[in-house]
């Protein structure tokens, strides 16, 4: 039975693919010229292309054995998976941001704050740790717009270079945690294919 790996579509997945080719786990690039989502890469590896959000779910439920995804998604899902390795790419920060000239002290001392985010669980948890009543508004992308248009008082989102924030007149208020890409494994797959998966981890560590 081959080991199945879920790779996220997009930049994170491309970096993961590169790392796996360099380490010799994958023999060649995953062909992206079609709409296929499943690829047999040699005898014992199968790659699935999945939305980054969904990687933790596929891995947790055992639909795939391994996956690569950001720590931000793992925290948001509270995914019950094993984190085997920090892949050392996809560096970004989960943070609270708001329109320029907002004072952090003033924002965090309000009795009520509206927060727009793709990460409702993280946002809720963060504001409860600083004892601020927060109304979380779930969005699916371009969260910065919420703050610009006044839909919300601030946003919780990942920031890598800070370029998008700056160009839209936003500023970082508070860092919540740092995130990187992680190699994750399904619990059952890990123990049942311990030798193969340990070998992959060693190859990727080098």
């Amino acid at each position: 039975m081959p080991v199945t790996i879920a790779l996220p579509k997009g930049k994170l997945g491309e970096d993961a693919e590169k790392a796996m080719i360099q380490s010799g786990i994958l023999g060649s690039v995953v062909p992206k010229d079609s709409r296929r989502l499943i690829f047999d890469m040699g005898q014992d590896i199968r790659v699935l292309l999945v939305r980054a959000w969904d990687v933790p779910t596929y891995v947790e439920m055992g639909a795939v054995d391994l996956g690569v995804c950001g720590k931000d998604d793992l925290v948001e899902h509270d995914a019950d998976v094993l984190e085997l390795l920090d892949m050392d790419f996809g560096h970004c920060k989960m943070c609270v941001a708001a329109n320029k000239h907002t004072r952090k002290e003033e924002l965090f001392s309000r009795s009520f704050v509206r927060v727009a985010t793709k990460y409702p669980n993280i946002a809720k948890k963060f504001f409860s740790t600083i004892s601020v009543q927060a109304e979380v508004i779930k969005l699916y992308g371009s969260v910065e717009l919420a703050s610009v248009t006044g839909l919300s008082d601030c946003i919780v989102d990942i920031v890598s270079s800070g370029g998008t924030l700056r160009e839209n007149g936003l500023e970082m208020m508070q860092e919540i945690f740092e995130s990187t890409a992680r190699l994750v494994a399904n619990r059952s797959s890990y123990y049942r294919n311990l030798d193969t998966i340990s070998r992959f981890v060693t190859l990727l560590t080098k």
Partner: protein, 337 residues
């Protein structure tokens, strides 16, 4: 426009479909036959080994579960009030009710006692993750022996049982004592301890390092604690790892090494040792175990040694047991597409 369509248009209306709450399902047909078949086969294994059937009540005082499994677990039980206002809980696990009953009814002279059970336990679970809230369990408790031989007996019975589900099953064993000892050498507050526990369950050594960075305590202890979740290997590999670790800590691994020697030889390929396997129940005192089969992405068997649980009920009986979640693999990953 048919009425089904209308229901979706009127999300907040009073027109409720007659459905079921999350995490429960109605059993019947082939699935029920399969579960019945496996249950009777495994029950027969237990009976052959001298285990006697018991059926704990479906609900007991909340306090019993709080005493037995700790407040974090008890909080996740389904609770309601008795006529006199006392809080009651549907059984969260079978071990606590059986321990309470045994402590009330039996004395040292009756030991050892061997019980088995099957029935449902009820747990609040995170939603939309395919987790059941009513779980059918089948398991054993061996009460009254602290010997490694008792550990070997229980692990062997678990192996025989899992074999009925998947010939390529895995049993993962660990020991919480080294973990607890290392924690006791550091000065940590409750949230930090909880965070460390969560990191262990996910083998997240990156976050673990960050939590430990600011905690007062020796660097040596921190380094070993950080590395512990990665001390995983089959019998032979684990023996090698154990040899390399600081001899100061080997006393916490000797019991596992002894257990590996006592297990039947044909189990060698099925047993994995994981020093990071600390589990969620507070009551485990040394050995912890999990069972995995191909049909499920999570552990379908859980157990361990709980030598101090009986103290909560006024007795000092060492004990060990496991439970198999018998109906929980109704989602089976398909791998040969």
């Amino acid at each position: 426009m048919n009425s089904k369509y209308l229901e979706f248009m009127l999300f907040d209306s009073d027109i409720d479909p007659i459905g079921l709450p999350n995490g429960v399902f109605f059993q019947g047909g082939n699935e029920l036959d399969k579960i019945k078949d496996v249950t009777s086969k495994i029950s027969r294994i237990f009976e052959k080994e001298g285990y006697q059937k018991v059926i704990p009540p479906a609900f007991e005082y909340y306090e019993t579960f709080e005493k037995g499994s700790g407040p974090d677990i008890a909080r996740r039980s389904f609770s309601f009030k008795d006529r006199d206002g006392k809080l009651l809980s549907l059984r969260y696990d079978m071990t606590t009710p059986i321990a309470r009953m045994t402590a009330m009814k039996y004395e040292n002279s009756h030991l050892p006692l061997k019980f088995y059970y099957w029935g449902d336990v009820f747990r609040d679970q995170p939603l939309h993750k395919g987790k059941l809230r009513q779980i059918q369990q089948l398991g054993i408790e061996l009460i009254g022996s602290s010997e490694v031989a008792a550990d070997a007996e229980v692990v062997s019975i678990l192996a025989k049982s899992l074999k009925m589900l998947d010939p390529h099953f895995r049993i993962v064993i660990g020991d919480v004592r080294l973990y607890r000892y290392l924690l006791s050498q550091l000065i940590l507050n409750e949230p930090q301890k909880e965070a460390i526990h969560a990191c262990f369950n996910k083998k997240d050594s990156i976050s673990l390092k960050q939590i430990l960075k600011d905690a007062p305590g020796s660097e040596e202890v921190k380094t070993i604690l950080t590395g512990l979740p990665k001390v995983v290997g089959n019998g032979a590999a684990f023996k090698k790892i154990a040899e390399e670790i600081n001899p100061k800590f080997i006393i916490y691994m000797e019991r596992l090494l002894h257990l590996l020697d006592l297990l039947p030889k044909d189990l060698a390929g099925h047993v994995v040792v994981d020093m990071g396997l600390i589990k969620d129940f507070n009551y485990y005192t040394s050995l912890t175990m999990e069972g995995y089969v191909e049909q499920a992405g999570h552990a379908i068997a859980n157990g361990g040694r709980y030598d101090e649980l009986f103290m909560s009920f006024g007795k000092n009986f060492p004990a060990i047991g496991f439970a198999i979640d018998i109906g929980s693999y109704h989602y089976t990953p398909i791998k040969d597409y």
